[in-house]
């Protein structure tokens, strides 16, 4: 689905991404974690070829059209320029499939609207919705693109707890259906519980990569985030609760 080799990106002489090697296959829901400025957004954009990065990315090599059928992307900036109805906005996901039949398009749009519980909002103007509702609309837009890989930059930021869990379950379900999802996340607890794999990004490099229990270790949390946390095995996965910051640590 996605293959990155030695992907690097420099901004102002500084390496924002430094030799990223990464491979994501079908069935994976990968959570991309890291503190602010670790390079998460840059990694996602470089992987898509939206930034002129050095190194190899299987997506960046494709033409814009082929890429749009291989991967959908939900950017971090929740930009909605015009007061379009929610339904029309979700339909924008179908622009990636200019030759698909109208019925196929409609079905995809309906699936996406149902998956994000947007039916009560479908005729509302997207610009007049709350931030969380807008985020759900934009997730639905990316979903309607119906690509093997879904890349989302902080998709659940600003959602209420129920909507966050719903979205994480949705991504996990997509992975279960043979898709792959790569999402940058800040909520480590939700990431630990729902992702099949976590990637910890630190200063433009991959600090850890593997199943949640292997990545969310006390040592990694201290080194990358500068926090201590309570980690426990609970019913249905890891329980994670951040406790304190570590002072005077060289992060």
């Amino acid at each position: 689905m996605l293959e990155l080799r030695a992907l690097s990106f420099h901004r102002g002489g500084q390496a924002v991404l430094d030799g990223i090697d990464l491979s994501i296959g079908a069935g994976e829901f990968v959570g991309l974690l890291g503190p602010n400025g670790a390079g998460k957004t840059t990694l996602l954009r470089a992987a898509l070829g939206l930034l002129p990065a050095r190194g190899h990315s299987s997506l960046a090599r494709l033409s814009a059209r082929e890429r749009a059928r291989a991967a959908a992307y939900m950017p971090q900036g929740r930009e909605i320029a015009w007061p379009m109805p929610v339904e029309a906005l979700v339909a924008l996901g179908r622009i990636a499939h200019p030759h698909s039949a109208g019925a196929t398009d409609r079905a995809a749009i309906e699936r996406a609207i149902a998956a994000l519980h947007l039916d009560p909002l479908r005729h509302r103007r997207a610009t007049e919705l709350s931030g969380g509702e807008q985020a759900r609309t934009l997730i639905a837009r990316a979903l309607a693109q119906e690509t093997p890989l879904l890349i989302a930059d902080e998709p659940i930021a600003g959602l209420d707890p129920a909507a966050q869990i719903d979205a994480m379950r949705l991504f996990r379900r997509l992975a279960g259906q043979g898709h792959a999802v790569l999402a940058s996340l800040h909520d480590l607890g939700l990431a630990a519980r729902h992702c099949t794999r976590l990637i910890l990004l630190h200063q433009g490099r991959i600090a850890a990569d593997g199943p949640p229990q292997a990545v969310l270790t006390a040592a990694n949390l201290a080194r990358v985030f500068g926090i201590t946390a309570h980690l426990a095995q609970g019913p249905g996965g890891i329980l994670f609760q951040p406790l304190d910051t570590i002072e005077g640590e060289d992060r």
Binding site: R45, P75, P83, M84, P85, L92, I95, L138
Partner: protein, 332 residues
């Protein structure tokens, strides 16, 4: 998406444009009945009435239609592309540069020596401004770079126009320039139609296939690029298309402002805010507005040659202020 509303809107706009086109044909100082006028138009022959209809009224009505459609469409495209409801074709410097080209033609006497001199100079100005904008904004330049480049070129072209006026030793040339800048459709011939139409046709052909991409841009450049839009190509096609539309319109009508700003804004809600649907709707709306304004200048001050551009600016500028206040209230 919004049911039958969109086809209905397009049908209503088309009817309005057709009615205004007819009204434009029938409005003039000659004071002849409508039946007689239309009969003369189709009868042919060389009597005075047929000449008035064929050589004066018909080109004026056609140009009103074309110029209005070009201005409305260019405004809709530019607003969609820049995702800014305050954008106007003048913004990327095309109008000002086209005007500068025309002013230079008048000043150097090119327009007097050679009837096509003025329109060709306006087109050259528009084309040059587009090349400059593309050079300044760069192949990967973002929206902000494009706007800034446009502002710089507008300012430069405006200053150059002022310089020409400032240094002009010939008061008649100044007079002519000032009147031309005001924008008008009076005393145009079929020759003007043949000059403008190909460029507007080219602009239309360049812009029409880009409508879906304009929709994708609603969610920003990254989202559009990841839905398969080739941003560099889109930018090239749109800027060239807008230049062709505005260059053609400015060449034959001078500067007619605010149509490209007001029309897309008024029609936006009616098309469900879709930038793609706004393109044809704004073309029809622009044609209706310019045809109506051109009829109004003939009715308000017959014999005084009230300029079309003056009227659109008088109506449009307060609307622009209203828009700014509204945008501020909505906290955009």
């Amino acid at each position: 998406m919004t049911g039958p509303r969109y086809p209905l809107l397009m049908a209503a706009l088309s009817t309005l444009v057709a009615a205004l086109f007819l009204a434009s044909l029938l409005t003039g100082p000659a004071g002849i009945g409508p039946g007689e006028s239309l009969a003369a138009l189709f009868r042919g022959g060389d009597d005075l009435l047929a000449l008035v209809m064929r050589e004066l009224r018909l080109p004026r009505a056609i140009l009103g239609l074309l110029v209005g459609a070009a201005l409305g469409m260019a405004g809709a495209v530019l607003q969609g592309f820049l995702r800014n409801p305050l954008a106007e074709p003048g913004l990327i410097g095309t109008s000002a540069s086209a005007a500068l080209g025309a002013v230079l033609a008048i000043q150097t006497g090119l327009s007097a020596a050679f009837p096509l001199g003025l329109p060709l100079a306006a087109l050259a100005g528009a084309a040059l401004s587009v090349l400059l904008v593309l050079m300044l904004a760069g192949p990967r330049g973002g929206t902000l770079a494009l706007i800034l480049a446009g502002i710089a070129i507008s300012a430069l072209a405006g200053a150059a126009t002022s310089l020409v006026l400032n240094l002009s030793p010939n008061p008649f040339a100044i007079n002519e320039i000032v009147f031309w800048i005001m924008g008008s459709l009076a005393d145009r011939s079929m020759l003007h139609v043949w000059i403008a139409a190909p460029f507007m046709g080219l602009g239309f052909v360049l812009i029409w296939p880009m409508r879906r991409a304009l929709n994708a841009l609603t969610l920003g450049e990254d989202a559009a690029a990841s839905s398969g839009v080739h941003l560099g190509r889109l930018r090239l096609m749109l800027v060239a298309g807008i230049a062709a539309l505005i260059g053609g319109a400015t060449a034959v009508a001078g500067t007619v402002g605010f149509v490209g700003l007001v029309v897309p804004h008024v029609l936006r809600r009616a098309v469900g805010a879709s930038p793609a649907r706004l393109v044809p709707a704004a073309a029809l709306g622009g044609a209706a507005v310019v045809l109506a304004a051109d009829i109004a200048v003939r009715l308000i001050a017959p014999g005084r040659d009230l300029k079309l551009g003056v009227l659109t600016a008088l109506v449009g500028a307060p609307f622009f202020l209203h828009l700014i206040l509204k945008t501020r209230r909505e906290g955009l």
